[in-house]
Symmetry: C2
Subunit: 395 residues, 2 copies
């Protein structure tokens, strides 16, 4: 059994704060600062250039990738770290397009994170492809035989709605298309099974439920059936078969290593590696059950105490990720008032209050306090104060 | 006047080590570890998601870029940080290609860093362009009216040969082409003058002479004449005009901000920002003079003491960056023997010993010791031992 009291204790959580925004930025694992300090002192300062071999910096993107693989239903040697999620989306979709040279259509949905759509749009304009965007519930009906790539984020960043990865992947394959799954709101949040679903590509970030720190490196996974033949469009030297031969021509490295691009972010990978220690021994089915327990209790509590809020997430927990959205016409001001009272969620335009439940450290006390404070803010109209209406650049 | 004794003292340099590999990985500034520890504790752990505004993470890529701008002859608000150099090369070349839709030729040279060539090759295959690679000394003769982009690394990673940025840029413009300059071995090493040369795009890494740490973020500069019209191919949400409006369609942010892609690497940027403190007040002309003084003394010393070595760099310091290469048939083993004696340079295939001179911390004592040890290794044949012939993955 996973000991959630122990995993909660592994994080630095400021006193008095109820943090329900781990789906935006996870908190710092207590030992991450020491790990990074040691890396800087013993490896960068102490080993200098020899750290690439002696400290294993060169192989770190693969080793860290292996630790994430277990959490997303992938195998060893199938996941590699680097860059940002937007870059990994570009890399996956461009590689998939090259595998279907006679097709030019990328299908996505309006619940996808905007950056994924921007990336696909930029790619489509560059290579002469077409990006089609439909409503999330209409995706299945739009999987047509002209489709090259189905590009979806499994869990909607606003509503928490979870796509059926296996069913949509099967339908895409039936139509001769490939799938790219963005796991930004899935990795570390739900029980992802990439190999079981037969997905083709998956990408994700590590600063949300995986707690790697602000701007932590992204990951990419390629199904082993494609890994030895896929040809990346972003061809960097770290993905070369022999990076240190300094050949002038590109030759892809074996397997997933070819999806590396430039020099890996060594300091950031040290922080992420420390964060992944907390995941050791965590059973993903237990995690999923805990996530559902927390979000179900939150929905029930809010609906009982805050009749003016409208649930913006699927009611069926099987169709949700690990977050819950509620709508309110003054959602921005309500969230500011909540934050002022020490309950941190997120506002997402135009009118969504978003609450993430990270089973590693959120517990039923967090749920109870969030419900209580939210009900109080609404009952007393605390949101309707000038200081809560300022609009800043928030994430 | 720049006080090089003070800047040297700002770095952690292991006792007894003569480090001439700052052109591969710069050493750690002493205060960088504290800065990163404070950032993790006070910002990530202490502020959580609010760090994006309260700690200024969101604007950090621009603020750090401004600090680098001064070192490369660019203006404020013209440089932005993020990703890796390979990604920034892709971004610059793809953007330049879009500005010349009726032309499809990218010209580069065989002295360019292989990753730049791989990236251009991948891009060319993806968009249907042609990459032409000629010898460095033949670049000028190959600037023809069909050229879309001239993509060069200013300072050759093996020989240290420095291109004439102003002259080649003028020739490219005369032919109607745009220029992309890779400053990997220039930024912090020589007196770059991007605005004076009239360059169009420039990119660079920050883990070499700028000492940002292993895998530190890259930078990109776009000439202000293009910055408001250039259309990036890598369209990420951080480069959107209104990232937090979560529009479905991409609209580029004003100016250089549009060259941002995904979430910035906050921890790595803290280390880099600390490293840039050491550059405060450093005069680039003084730095360049110091670099020439060091490399001239090294060449003279080596040629006097090691007749079997062949200079692999231009003899005229005006045509060199801040590194010197010498050839030896057993260069790999020679470098291993040098490292065993505490003199750290670099081997570059097939037969080059590479020594970088970082004026911020290298001094004439380093030069004298390197010459002495190198001469001893060669005179006594110390390189010809089995342990120096193992070939590992080095960078």
């Amino acid at each position: 059994m996973t000991d959630f009291a122990a995993t909660r204790d592994a994080f630095h959580l400021p006193d008095g704060l109820t943090y329900l925004d781990g789906n935006s930025l996870g908190p710092m694992p207590r030992h991450a600062a020491d790990r990074v300090a040691a890396m800087m002192r013993d490896e960068w300062a102490g080993m200098l250039i020899s750290g690439w071999n002696r400290a294993g910096w060169y192989v770190q993107p693969r080793k860290v990738g292996d630790r994430i693989a277990r959490l997303i239903g992938a195998g060893e040697g199938q996941v590699i770290m680097g860059d940002t999620l937007s870059i990994k989306v570009f890399q996956a979709v461009s590689a998939a397009l090259r595998m279907r040279p006679d097709r030019r259509v990328i299908l996505s949905d309006s619940g996808n994170f905007p950056s994924d759509l921007y990336v696909a749009q930029g790619l489509a304009e560059t290579v002469g492809a077409e990006l089609r965007v439909v409503a999330p519930e209409e995706v299945a009906a739009h999987i047509t035989p002209d489709l090259a790539v189905l590009m979806l984020t499994e869990v909607d960043y606003r509503t928490g709605r979870r796509h059926d990865m296996a069913a949509l992947t099967a339908a895409a394959h039936e139509a001769g298309a490939l799938t790219v799954w963005d796991l930004a709101h899935s990795a570390g949040a739900v029980d992802v099974d990439l190999l079981g679903a037969g997905a083709d590509f998956a990408v994700g970030c590590t600063y949300k439920y995986l707690n790697g720190g602000p701007g932590a490196p992204a990951f990419i996974w390629v199904h082993p059936d494609h890994a030895e033949t896929v040809r990346p469009c972003l061809q960097g030297w770290m993905g070369h078969a022999q990076p240190f031969a300094f050949d002038q021509g590109y030759a892809p490295a074996p397997g997933i290593e070819r999806m590396r691009v430039g020099t890996p972010p060594v300091i950031a990978l040290a922080a992420l590696d420390a964060a992944l220690d907390v995941w050791e021994g965590v059973d993903m089915a237990t995690l999923r059950a805990r996530s559902i327990e927390l979000s179900e209790a939150f929905i029930a509590g809010v609906e009982a105490a805050c009749p003016e809020l409208v649930l913006h997430s699927p009611r069926d927990p099987a169709q949700r990720g690990s977050q819950v959205g509620f709508r309110h016409p003054q959602a921005y001001a309500v969230m500011q008032a909540l934050i002022a009272q020490g309950v941190v969620g997120d506002f997402r335009a135009p009118d969504v209050l978003r609450f993430g439940f990270a089973p590693l450290y959120n517990d039923m006390e967090d749920v109870a306090r969030a419900v209580e404070v939210l009900a109080g803010v609404l009952r007393q109209g605390l949101w309707d104060r000038p200081e809560h209406h300022r609009r800043a650049a928030v994430t």
